[in-house]
């Protein structure tokens, strides 16, 4: 398991290749990558991501451990950035490795659903005129009820 909370960009290809290499019992690798999306008006200058150092790593480790208990997984990877990011920048990635694809897909979705509302990150959208904290969506909380 690899959990990384970092300011620096990550190399999606290199991370995915390193994650996929090694264990030949895993026939399925699923990766998800989150990217900073521009606003509808197209005027997002920056996205600032704040987090709670210490708790963030613990929360992500707990979520990854729960995924490993629930599905038959070979390995789990979570990388999440903080600090200032520009539209198009990669914010985070999760990857799951499993013998079979159903476990890998479901575990990746589970990781994303829990990461969105249980890991202590907060996003702020900064435009030329304003800086607004992103409000949590009810649907993100509702998404947890299916697990």
């Amino acid at each position: 398991m690899k959990i990384s909370v970092q300011k620096e960009p990550f190399d999606l290809g290199a991370e995915a290749n390193a994650f996929a290499a090694g264990d030949t019992s895993n026939g399925a690798i699923v990766t998800f990558t989150g990217v900073v999306r521009d606003l509808v008006q197209g005027d997002l200058d920056m996205m600032e991501i704040e987090h709670y150092p210490g708790m963030t790593e613990k929360a992500l480790t707990k979520i990854a451990n729960e995924a490993q208990e629930r599905w038959s997984l070979g390995d789990v990877l979570v990388i999440h950035r903080h600090g200032r990011l520009a539209p198009g920048d990669q914010i985070m990635m999760v990857a799951t490795a499993a013998p079979h694809r159903k476990d890998a897909f479901e575990a990746a979705e589970y990781l994303m659903d829990y990461l969105k509302s249980r890991a202590p990150f907060w996003k702020k959208e900064i435009t030329g005129e304003s800086a607004d904290w992103v409000a949590a969506k009810d649907e993100d909380e509702d998404a947890l009820t299916r697990w």
Partner: protein, 81 residues
């Protein structure tokens, strides 16, 4: 006890962290003490349904006991991913 604030809670209160001497037994009692201090606290804690609390870096709730707790954090619902 250390109290930490994140995101707009930090901005409204105007600081990321402070040390507080308190005899509060629960999170709710601590919140009441903070609200009574100054208007910026009253504003930040005016709607508890918009807030989350963590005790020693574990998500908790406002009814929870503060016995043995060293670090309390208040923040809005999380928006990672």
């Amino acid at each position: 006890m250390d109290i930490l604030y994140f995101a707009w809670v930090r901005e409204r209160i105007g600081l990321p962290k402070e040390k507080v001497e308190t005899s509060a037994e629960t999170v709710s009692q601590l919140v009441d003490e903070l609200r009574a201090r100054e208007e910026r606290y009253e504003v930040a804690f005016s709607d508890l349904s918009a807030l989350r609390v963590a005790l020693d870096q574990e998500l908790s709730d406002f009814d929870a006991s503060l016995a043995g707790v060293r670090e309390v954090a208040f923040f809005p619902p999380m928006t990672g991913g």
